[in-house]
């Protein structure tokens, strides 16, 4: 049966889809009203990334919020972490960010935050989605309707202040690092320039920092999409290059040789920096590299693993009072002392701080990490066959300890494999890691073979 294309997802993580036939202003408005009803009367912070559909959806969501009796604070175009910090900083009831993060430009989404500026936990998410489906929204009368105030100024300052408490700004400024930046014309464009140039005193060479222009490259920051950044680093002789995603939560890093680092290694470097500053354990998702464990062990710290997804990592970090956490492969760095959210700015500051402190180059620091070989991939599957696929995979690795909290992760002595179903597409995501390239290929091959045979 040919599948009908439906590019909309309404689920526990909010609402996400291709704008036009799928994600409509009516849906965004209804979701805004459900959210306003759920969190109760009070201020809600609303901001967005630079997608062409952001303004339209912001007005739609604001309409729903006002209709529910919420007071709206419009913070305009800001990175997602900055919006989250704004919510926490100002004691608002909640926040909405109109952003589809690293998804392609035709997508957009509503990200919803509670009064602490955090994603709702899974129970709250369930309640909210039930409320949305029941459509029993609060409907404010004229006398109960509050207005919209604008604050396009204070967001970046609130965010920077929190970060600067944790790094040696003077040491960074003294080095006057030559830094390259690829802002993907995203929400962080102006703010990142200000942060690196004026606050951290870098000699900045930036590309794609015009928030009025479309995304010039694939939105997700990864080696294939950061070739221009790599070229810029080499051309300008930069000591480090940073690549952001459109809403400034993800970070990718390019070393002084123009090589884009593996995101798991970036996370490991930041974990190292953070644990030197703050006591506490580490939380990462199941797909994150074991290099993080090695780094944590050096500091005498433990690593907790969670299902994939920022909300899952954040929930566990909160529960174990972690010092640092994140999701390796997708460039998410979470440092709770700044805020419990993925934050590319904290990542940039920590790496520059480490470079200033140690006098080492970024490539040197990366080379000192234990070497792991990693491979990610995906295969499509038919609905209804998922259980059988997982069983045959387990049989292909007899006697190996398994973790079933998110798909299936098989833990071998010298590596691991992780297979999970995507939340958004009928795809299985595969990941494997080993100490040698040969062993990696062997493990990965066994996984693919097991999945193909069944």
């Amino acid at each position: 049966m040919p599948r009908r294309e439906h590019l909309l997802k309404i689920g526990v993580s909010g609402i996400r889809g291709v704008v036009g036939d799928f994600l409509t202003p009516s849906l965004a408005c209804a979701f805004g009203q459900a959210f306003g009803t759920y969190i109760g009367r009070g201020r809600v912070i609303v901001g967005r990334d630079t997608r062409m559909t952001g303004q339209m959806l912001q007005h739609a969501a604001s309409c729903g919020l006002l209709a529910a009796g919420s007071e709206v604070v419009d913070v305009g175009v800001l990175p997602t972490p900055t919006i989250q910090i704004y919510v926490a900083d100002t004691g608002a009831r909640g926040g909405i960010a109109l952003t589809a993060s690293h998804n392609p430009p035709e997508y957009n989404a509503l990200k919803l935050f509670n009064s602490e500026g955090l994603f709702f936990n899974q129970y709250e998410r369930g309640e909210l989605i039930d409320l949305y489906h029941q459509s029993q929204f609060r409907r404010a009368a004229n006398s109960e309707i509050r207005g919209i105030t604008k604050d396009y100024e204070s967001g970046p300052r609130r965010h920077f202040e929190r970060i600067l408490r944790h790094v040696d700004v003077e040491a960074i400024r003294r080095r006057r690092f030559r830094v390259a930046l690829d802002g993907v014309n995203g929400a962080g464009s102006a703010m990142s320039c200000q942060f690196l140039e004026q606050i951290l005193g870098c000699d900045l060479r930036a590309i794609w920092v015009d928030p009025g222009k479309p995304f010039p490259r694939e939105a997700e920051p990864k080696p294939e999409s950061l070739t221009e950044l790599a070229a810029l680093v080499q051309r300008e002789g930069c000591e480090i290059g940073f690549g952001q995603d459109p809403d400034g939560d993800r970070l990718a890093v390019c070393d002084e040789n123009g090589r884009v680092l593996d995101n798991d290694d970036v996370l490991a470097l930041v974990v190292d920096a953070a644990l030197a500053l703050h006591a506490g354990d580490v939380v990462v998702n199941l797909t994150t590299s074991s290099v993080v464990e090695d780094v944590a062990r050096r500091h005498g710290r433990q690593v907790f693993r969670t299902p994939v997804g920022e909300a899952n990592v954040v929930e566990r970090m909160r529960a174990v009072k972690a010092a640092i956490g994140g999701e390796g492969s997708n460039g998410g760095i979470i440092f709770p002392a700044v805020h419990l959210c993925r934050d590319s700015y904290t990542g940039m500051a920590f790496l520059l701080h480490r470079m200033a402190q140690t006098g080492k180059s970024i490539s040197q620091m990366a080379a000192e990490l234990p070497k792991y070989h990693r491979r990610l991939g995906k295969v499509s599957y038919e609905h209804g066959r998922l259980g059988m696929l997982m069983q045959s995979l387990e049989q292909a690795f007899p006697g190996v300890p398994a973790d079933r909290t998110d798909g299936l992760k098989l833990l071998l002595d010298d590596g691991w494999v992780h297979v999970r179903a995507s939340n958004t597409e009928p795809l299985l995501r595969l990941a494997a890691e080993a100490r040698s390239a040969e062993r990696l290929e062997e493990l990965y091959g066994r996984v693919v073979q097991a999945l193909q045979q069944s």
Partner: protein, 455 residues
């Protein structure tokens, strides 16, 4: 059906009590329908009156218009006539006015305009309603989504045009007291005062963060609340009351007498008709017969249409613009051809002041010079099923008069008339009787008794 009506969706748009009646979802759907109805990608002008709920509705209208591919030019808080003026001035493809005019504060509404700021015809409004009901909207792809542009200087060009038509210099001699009822007229009049030096004293002129000082209805009663008692203490020459979106106006004389809103149309007819001899006056069948008397003095004819703005629009489309002198209702809403046939309270005010200047007459002299007509109005709830029966009974009982049945039942005699009809906005039957001279009390009581017997 005697539940209080909280929502009404009709040819003139959507109107309701915000919250229990009019919801965000209605706003999104109606504005999406309008965006679908308009020619693709034309810019749309948007404005709102001073109600708190206007902010919520504005957000929804903007989102829906952007999503259907239209750029939106938002004028902020402005009067409906300024929105219509701007549509035509900048050549926009249409416009939306958010505001419930003379309705109480808890109401709000969306009104839609086509190119040149004209109201939608009945055929166009039907199409819009069909799209709304089908809920199949043409949302554009992500690269085609419209852009929002804020424009807060729409009042000045509007005033420039008013200054072309009226000799504002000559109006500086009058001290004018205005009850803005916290509506959009305050913004226009403040600016008019600044730019043209008119001696305007504004009361209830705050437009933000306040409730309406009183019911924004336009009537002799609301003029009597604050405006009329203040006339003599401040020694004003004329007093005007505007509704929230400034399309209607009522007056108080320098002696402090509130004047019936029915008088606005006859007074303006008297002012306009000598300048455009041979042209028509268009009004509805509930409006005072003084209009005919004034028109006949100037050798002009009166055309009467069913009650309601939509009927007036349809009546207007039957004539070329140069055939019409003015059009209006007994509600204080009047349009003059200089203003592209837009109900405009501010223009009405300037016309009345100009009349005082030209005739060198006090307002009370102008008002008192007209023969006295007395009008009685009543309303009662009814059973819809028995309405045709009721109207037939009344028609039989008054078979000696001239019958008009285009909207309920109107019966005319040489010096008096009555009109019994069903309201378009509330579940009531309205009874209106008018007589030259004293009030037609017996006729009115008889009609009310008959209506009551059918409840």
């Amino acid at each position: 059906m005697n539940e209080p009506q909280l929502l009404r969706i009709s040819h003139v748009g959507v109107r309701g009590v915000v919250g229990p009646g009019l919801t965000a979802s209605h706003v999104l759907d109606f504005a999406s329908a309008f965006g679908t109805f308009l020619a693709p990608k034309v810019p749309v002008v948007l404005g709102r009156d001073t109600r708190a709920s206007g902010v919520m509705i504005r957000e929804g209208v903007i989102a829906a218009l952007l999503a259907t591919g239209h750029d939106v030019i938002d004028l902020g808080v402005v009067s409906t006539p300024v929105i219509q003026h701007t549509i035509s001035r900048i050549g926009a493809g249409g416009g939306v006015s958010i505001g419930a005019s003379h309705n109480a504060a808890e109401w709000n509404a969306l009104k839609f305009f086509g190119p040149n700021g004209i109201y939608l015809s009945t055929a166009e409004a039907s199409e819009l309603l069909d799209i709304y009901h089908l809920k199949k909207f043409d949302f554009v792809g992500w690269t085609e989504v419209g852009k929002l542009c804020l424009q807060d200087n729409a009042i000045d060009p509007y005033l420039d045009d008013l200054a072309q038509v009226f000799d504002l210099e000559s109006l500086r001699q009058f001290k004018v007291l205005v009850d803005c009822c916290n509506g959009t007229s305050a913004l226009i009049l403040r600016r008019m005062k600044e730019r043209f030096g008119l001696n305007l004293i504004l009361i209830n002129e705050k437009t933000e963060g306040v409730d309406f000082a009183h019911d924004p209805a336009i009537s002799r009663e609301t003029v009597g609340l604050q405006l009329a008692p203040l006339m003599q203490p401040v020694a004003a020459d004329a007093g005007f009351l505007f509704d929230a979106d400034s399309d209607r106006v009522a007056i108080a004389t320098e002696e402090g007498n509130p004047v019936s809103e029915e008088m606005i149309l006859p007074i303006l007819a008297d002012y306009v008709l000598p300048r455009v001899p041979g042209r028509l006056v268009i009004t509805n069948i509930s409006t005072t017969a003084l209009v005919e008397e004034v028109a006949s003095r100037h050798g002009a004819k009166v055309v009467r249409a069913p009650v309601g703005r939509q009927a007036a629009i349809d009546a207007l489309t039957g004539y070329r613009p140069e055939q019409v002198a003015l059009a209006g209702e007994g509600t204080g809403a009047v349009m003059m051809p200089q203003f592209r046939f837009v109900y405009d309270g501010i223009a009405s005010m300037l016309a009345i002041l100009s009349m005082m200047a030209e005739r060198k007459a006090r307002l009370s002299e102008i008002v008192d010079a007209y023969p006295r007509y007395s009008m009685l109005k009543g309303q009662l709830p009814f059973a819809s099923r028995r309405l045709p029966e009721l109207l037939m009974e009344i028609q039989m009982a008054y078979s000696d008069g001239r019958v008009t049945s285009i909207d309920g039942l109107r019966v005319d005699w040489p010096d008096r008339w009555f009109h019994v009809r069903v309201s378009q906005t509330e579940p009531v039957v309205r009874v209106i009787c008018e007589q030259r001279g004293d009030p037609p009390i017996a006729l009115f009581e008889d009609l009310m008794g008959r209506v009551r017997s059918y409840v």
